[in-house]
Amino acid sequence: MEAALIWEYVIKSVVIMLGLTLGFAYVTLFERRVLARIQVRIGPNRAGPQGILQPIADAVKLIFKEELTPVKADKLLFILAPVITVFPALVITAVVPWGRQVTMFGREINLYLADVNIGVLYIAAISSIAVYGIVLAGWSSNNKYALMGGMRSSAQMISYELTMGLSFVGPILLAGSMSLVDIVEKQGTLGFLRWNLMQPLGFILYLIASIAEINRSPFDMPEAEQELTAGYHVEYSGMKFALFFMAEYIKMIAVSMIGSTLFLGGYMAPNLSWIPGFGPQLYASLNTAWAGPIWLFLKTVLMLFILVWVRATFPRFRYDRLMAFGWKVLLPLALLNAFIVAVARVLVGG
């Protein structure tokens, strides 16, 4: 492997890492502003113009906070758990493409870190690792609420992972490949707006399962404030708490990116070539290689907005209903969706 290629990978990894960490900071601001607007408030707008320095102020506050470790906690796991939680969130987007090939510094550069031929499987695998951090955090805190939160989250994540995995089946079947680049490119030949709009059920199932998978409201069972006082991170403070917080928001970004890649056409512009007259030219100019990251960004922001919107609207599920909903409603629906897509694929041909 030549040196330039290694540098290319290193730089792309750094861009992803920094993008996600910076993105995390601004997703918190985005969420607070959107929530505030939904609650007919304004939201944080004091630190910097329109509050754009608010995340930095929050970070500085958390860094300077006292870090407490419970006396009877398992020290090693207690420190390791936040790291294990953040790590999968950071690496999961490695297979998500942000664009086609561009020429930069005389090199053909693919705008994705890795085009793995089992990309979707990689996502499913990494998202399962995330549960370890939460369970270990709950276990090592030596606190009954934290333990309950960790146990709940493991049960919840295992249940909803099935639905999420089955909702991946739709795009995989339609594209005939597990590579995310292939799936996005294949969506160019399918669908009305270049999106996988042919399976709205699959998209909704993915949305619900992914909200449950990242433990966000209305499925924020592991950190139910009223019952568990904060769930698995009740004993954490300072930067260790910030890492859990960071993991949650980076996972939000990750599921939004994955969702827009699998179901909304990823880096492709919406298909506008059906407009008579200027349609094809407009579409060609919107769909250049450099526009790819912008389209992916816009679609990710749309997905993030949906996540915040759902949080602002729905109250938390009761735990037994959460499990019943996952196993008795979502799983059969996901199987049905996979069945319909498979039959349609065979009948229509692909």
């Binding site: 607007r37 007919v40 304004i42 919107w309 609207t313 729905f314």
Partner: protein, 168 residues
Amino acid sequence: MFARELARGLWTTFRSMLEKPVTTQYPEEKRPVHTRFKGRHQLHRYDNGLEKCIGCALCAAACPADAIFVESSENTDEVRFSPGERYASTYEINFLRCIFCGYCEDACPTEAIVLGDNYELTFTDRRQAIYGKELLLVPVPEGGQPTPQTVEPGKFTRSIPVMEDPKD
């Protein structure tokens, strides 16, 4: 199906995003206080600039929190602060004690002390919480003279000024 209810809920929250925020951007814009709002006290003056307070200390007697301290001195025609026989040479309100009940305002025979509109009381020091006369007295009105005034003898002969019935 419950899907309709979910959609209605989502529509409700989405619609509320389009409403005007109810937030008041506090330091820049302030909401007006109610007409009977009881904020920081003010010691009022007559139109000619003389202080209304005659140092009777009825406010201090009425104060349930014992927040007011009044020390009075004699007026003379050369050094005159108030139309009466005496004036408050020291008038202090401890705002760490004050409960803003307004009994001092009710007790005052000359309507000198009135609870104003100012609610922005901040201190960095316990000493600063004690407001003296210089902070409580309102500025001299247009056309009035600052106190102490020198007046010709025989103009203010009453030991207490004429008390009018309250107008509001």
